[in-house]
């Protein structure tokens, strides 16, 4: 079975931190942070790649990896991990494909996470 964009067990553990009746469910709060911050990290990653600024490719891939892991976006996290490795290697043959994959997986993660929102 293909990996889902979001690991449900992470979502479940975060939901357990919610306080009944809170105006904005805690998970929603985290998803909103992700929607803003992960998108920014992804844009910075693309910019760094365009400029072939490999230290910053590494930096933004690492940051996006952490943001993805927080919410169980494991496919995105794995792609970012591969980008970190690529940034530190001499051979960069797969770079285009990995950057594209990171953008695709971010879109998939965002779509999946929006499905968990209970507030706008």
């Amino acid at each position: 079975m293909e990996n889902a964009a979001i690991d449900e067990t992470i979502i479940t553990s975060l939901k357990q931190l919610e306080i009944p009746g809170e105006p904005v469910p805690f998970l929603d709060e985290l998803i909103h942070i992700f929607l803003t911050d992960a998108s920014l990290s992804s844009r910075n990653l693309s910019t760094a790649y365009t400029q072939k600024d490999w230290p910053n490719v590494n930096r933004w891939a690492h940051k996006l990896k952490g943001q993805a892991r927080n919410l169980g976006a494991n496919r995105l996290s794995d792609v970012c991990s591969n980008l970190e490795i690529l940034a530190s290697q001499t051979e960069k043959a797969n770079a285009d494909a990995l950057i594209q994959a990171s953008e695709d997986e971010l879109k998939a993660a965002i779509t999946a996470l929006r499905g968990y929102l209970r507030t706008s």
Partner: protein, 248 residues
């Protein structure tokens, strides 16, 4: 960017050094107390000597400037008995080893698992308090002697039986933070199987002892999450005394 640290930080708080803004809310929710967030090592080091956190959670990777690893030795020299837990999304074991060698007490990987964070924090708090307090634990006007189980509050004293003393020590170490019932059972009774309401009965007895010395503390049970020892606010203490006077 740093969180505005007001002139009066909350009484019990942790510190999170991480430029990932999801981390400090997760830590705050898990521990039940606020977590002051700093996004750069420089900002934290400027404020560190004026802060007394319960624990500090430090991201190893922090962008381009000071890394978490760079900051840890300075924090350790300022906070001798504060647990420092590193947060890492890195699979590299060397980073963890380096952080522990630099003065961190423990580590936790992303994604943060709340139960794991609670367990590690409680264990490190217990260790650091063992180092910090030879025998007496002082909390305001309350003095608890670990060896004798004596609780002194102003001119009153009471002696806690062994199990209540253990319970009190754990809750005092983790005051204002939620401790799960499973964790309490394990730490007080170890591997023994105990009856379902044994812990609740001990908690009830502990409440009586606290009330007997008039200490401004209350043991709150959140049946979904665990138990928490909280300091009463001044008006709560006044109300409690008025109730006692009225009953007398």
């Amino acid at each position: 960017m740093e969180t505005a640290v007001s002139n009066t930080p909350p009484k019990r708080f942790t510190i999170t050094l991480d430029d990932d803004l999801m981390i400090s809310p997760i830590i705050a929710r898990t521990t039940g107390i606020p977590s002051l967030v700093f996004t750069t090592g420089e900002a934290l080091l400027k404020k560190a000597s004026s802060l007394e956190p319960v624990a500090a959670f430090i991201d190893v990777h922090l962008g381009l400037n000071l890394s978490g690893l760079d900051v840890i030795p300075h924090l350790r020299s300022i906070w001798k008995y504060t647990p420092i837990v590193i947060i890492t999304g890195d699979d590299n074991a060397d980073i963890i080893g380096d952080a522990l060698a630099a003065g961190a007490n423990d580590f936790i990987r992303k994604p943060i698992q709340p139960a794991e964070l609670q367990g590690r924090l409680q264990a490190r708090l217990a260790e650091m308090n063992q180092l910090r307090y030879q025998d007496e634990v002082v909390f305001g006007d309350l003095v608890f002697s670990k060896a004798s189980g004596e609780v002194r509050y102003r001119d009153k004293r009471v002696y806690l039986p062994k199990l209540e003393a253990k319970l009190f020590m754990i809750l005092l170490e983790n005051r204002e933070m939620i401790v799960t019932k499973e964790s309490l059972k394990r730490r007080v009774w170890g591997e023994l199987t105990i009856a379902g309401n044994t812990l609740d009965k001990r908690i009830s007895k502990l409440r009586s002892f606290i009330s007997e010395v008039g200490a401004p503390l209350r043991v709150e049970a959140d049946y979904g999450k665990g138990v928490c020892l909280k300091a009463e606010k001044e008006d709560d203490e006044a109300n409690r005394k008025n109730k006692i006077k009225g009953a007398g």
